[in-house]
Symmetry: C2
Subunit: 459 residues, 2 copies
């Protein structure tokens, strides 16, 4: 685009977008000044200087663009990175398509829209005789007992949203989290259901566990306990077992503190990130009483205001399942509390901040199987939200802490195989004992399933 | 940087890096021409025009930088995206740190470097009496039998590298893949080990399965079969069971075609993406014979050349475990083949390309439990490599096909719960039957564990 002739547009070499550079053609412009002949020396210098400025400027921004496109430190890298970038861009495009969920074969498009505040939300048709239905079924199906090897059958329910995380690292930590759960549950004979679907569009997000818990209870009569566990909670005591004998007279086992609950009405008195619910009529009734604050939209928003007013320390936001449960148990205390065990003798849920820096100290002083502050059963990364975008804590602190917790647990699993991580931040492992031609002596010694002890919480 | 005074540097508004813009100060430069007074009109126009050019240019590259930084289509988005972008950038920085594995607490830094071509690689100390060691142990430990409910105990081994995928979507599909395996294995009483560690730095990548298989055999004497399955292989027939009775006299079960193997010596005659290896001395010996082509560096490179020369259709690249196994079984046929079952009556491994477009047709015409081309047991996404960068197939085709396979399988799992996906590309689900107050009739009807039949492959 020049006034006379066409200035030379040169594309810089290298991969990543090319930027046009304009070299101002010699010969000045229209209007005054010599044209055709040599310019005065001073003017020539000025023009040259201007050209240099423009070249430097455009070279600088070219570098910035390349840097932004192909990443720091990769200047001058090969076309492989351009291919890589293309793949990532194409992936993002496909992701956006999948996220928009524009499948032409989608039938029965639901009526989108929030539930009317006047409608009454129900999880499902009211069942009133679940205990006897279940008992009859168990009698008729002895090949599906509700106890296995003398222990009540537990099913661990966890999950994550169906779509890729907003923050890519989120999926990687979801993967590690489920591996962690696979390891614990394999060693303790617990089945896992990993839910990636919203059974009820009204109850999405943290509320999604309610319809899924109900559905699993009704579909798995052989299961005695449904154990919900958040995707951001990791097992960190691989040896510890839930002391089920403590809960023979209870139907809900949840970590919390009675004084925070009854005296302070604190919104964090209990934690619904990890709790057990017995498969029985009482639990179906609890779910039915719990759910009504859940439907998204005006109901959930209004309920949130009620909860914020009622519970100590609760910020203003829509109703969440944890606050709603606390509210329910407080406002209908006589109905429910008799069967609720508020557990804090071990970390059924262990808030991560006070735990993650002490793992080395724990290894030095204690041993697995304790489940409490000496060797926490579960380390729960509340507020870290690696899958989403709006964490309550610094990203670096969260990611490194989750890495440490994962490796701390993994070391306990790898011990049987003779390995351990090089450090709590390291994905690499090293041998912790030599191999032998008689490996079974170590199986006898280290296989957790063979060294199970009924852990008694300290009182 | 100006000849006179200082040109105004203005940072453009908005997030993502600011670019300096230079507005050339009015008043011209040194040397000729009027200074201080008004320039001739023509010169003024030229200067103005030059300024406009520079402004447009720099504005253009600013847009490019922003576009590259915050993604297409996000121009003018809110500060939330800036926060999001900051989180993602910080995450990437942390990721780079984790990938570089710079943990100061790392002890015993290994001697990096390839194995000398003269050294002989061994997986571990040579065991010669594993069958009798195992038999004695099983006798002494009746609480850990090698059969459960009349079926030999199987352990499924799968895994992925310890670090986040180069392509972020890769971790999401690894997550879906492991959920798919969790579902199948829960329904069939199979234990899972998800390996995210390299037990032997020499045998990384696709070779990593060998030391892990050996380690699991020696650590789990109660396990009769180790089943290796790639992370890019999905179960697509949730009902089908491995017909173990077919393999009573065999120790390795692998999908393949005898004519491709013996007549054509094709490098894809067998597929090591999904195979079963019995826990016995024969298998330890096979692993020992298989491993020597694996150590990375000159050994693996040289071995690759041998394999390319020997096997039909093999491209030139380092030795992979599949080619090495084919080579071993061909070159030492008499030693091994008697105990190898080359299976193709059902899709122990099913190459995805010919399968994924037919799922709707399968639903229409057939039913789960067949395991073959009518309803494939396993759909294996060979060459898609969602975790890495260098796929052999188009990214879009791969991702959409994996989504379809996942949902095709998930529908079979969700059926018990009364749900199904809205379409094979949709993460959303819908009810496929109404809820009732007597849910156990559906449990009797749809619970796969209750409808297990010993499937006989067609002959």
């Amino acid at each position: 685009m020049g006034q006379d002739g066409s200035p030379a547009h040169k594309r810089p070499s290298g991969s990543g977008g090319g930027l046009p550079t304009t070299t101002v053609a010699n010969g000045g412009g229209r209007g005054g000044g010599g044209r055709g002949g040599l310019l005065p020396r001073g003017r020539q210098m000025q023009k040259t200087f201007n050209n240099i400025k423009i070249t430097i400027l455009c070279g600088f921004v070219t570098i910035l663009v390349l840097r932004g496109t192909i990443g720091v430190g990769n200047l001058g890298s090969s076309s492989a990175d351009a291919v890589n970038q293309n793949i990532i861009e194409e992936t993002n495009r496909i992701l956006a398509e999948i996220r928009s969920d524009s499948d032409p074969t989608d039938l029965d498009e639901p009526q989108e829209g929030d539930m009317s505040p006047n409608a009454t939300y129900v999880l499902g048709p009211k069942i009133t005789d679940w205990d006897s239905q279940r008992k009859v079924w168990l009698n008729q199906n002895p090949e599906f007992p509700s106890t296995v090897n003398g222990r009540a059958r537990i099913l661990l329910l966890t999950g994550s949203p169906p779509k890729p995380c907003d923050n890519p690292i989120g999926d990687h930590y979801l993967l590690k989290s489920v591996k962690n759960k696979i390891d614990y549950c394999r060693l303790h004979g617990i089945e896992i259901v990993y839910n990636m679907a919203h059974l009820d569009k009204e109850l999405a997000g943290y509320w999604a566990k309610l319809p899924m818990i109900r559905r699993l209870m009704l579909s798995h009569p052989e299961v005695e306990w449904i154990w919900w566990m958040d995707s951001d909670a990791l097992f960190t005591d691989i040896l510890f077992q839930i002391p089920l004998a403590r809960y023979e007279k209870h139907n809900l086992v949840i970590h919390g503190y009675p004084d925070l609950l009854f005296d302070q009405k604190s919104w964090i008195a209990l934690n619904t990130g990890s709790f057990l619910l017995r498969n029985c009529q009482w639990s179906l009734d609890l779910l039915d009483a719990w759910a009504p604050m859940g439907p998204k939209g005006p109901i959930r928003d209004e309920a949130g205001k009620v909860l914020t007013a009622y519970l100590k320390g609760r910020p203003a936001f829509e109703a969440d399942d944890q606050s709603a449960l606390i509210y329910l148990l407080l406002s209908q205390k006589d109905t429910w509390m008799e069967k609720v065990f508020v557990e804090n003798q071990y970390y059924l849920h262990g808030f991560w901040e006070g735990l993650v820096d002490r793992y080395e100290e724990m290894v030095e002083k204690y041993h697995p199987g304790l489940g409490d502050e000496r060797w926490p059963f579960v380390t729960h990364f509340v507020g870290c939200k690696p899958c989403g975008s709006y964490a309550d804590y610094a990203v670096e602190r969260c990611l490194k802490s989750m890495e440490r917790a994962f490796n701390f647990a993994d070391n306990q699993v790898l011990k049987l195989y003779g390995f351990g991580h090089r450090g709590l931040l390291s994905p690499k492992i090293k041998r912790i004992r030599n191999e032998t031609v008689t490996p079974l002596e170590f199986v006898d010694k280290f296989d957790i399933r063979r060294t199970q002890v009924e852990t008694k919480p300290q009182n």
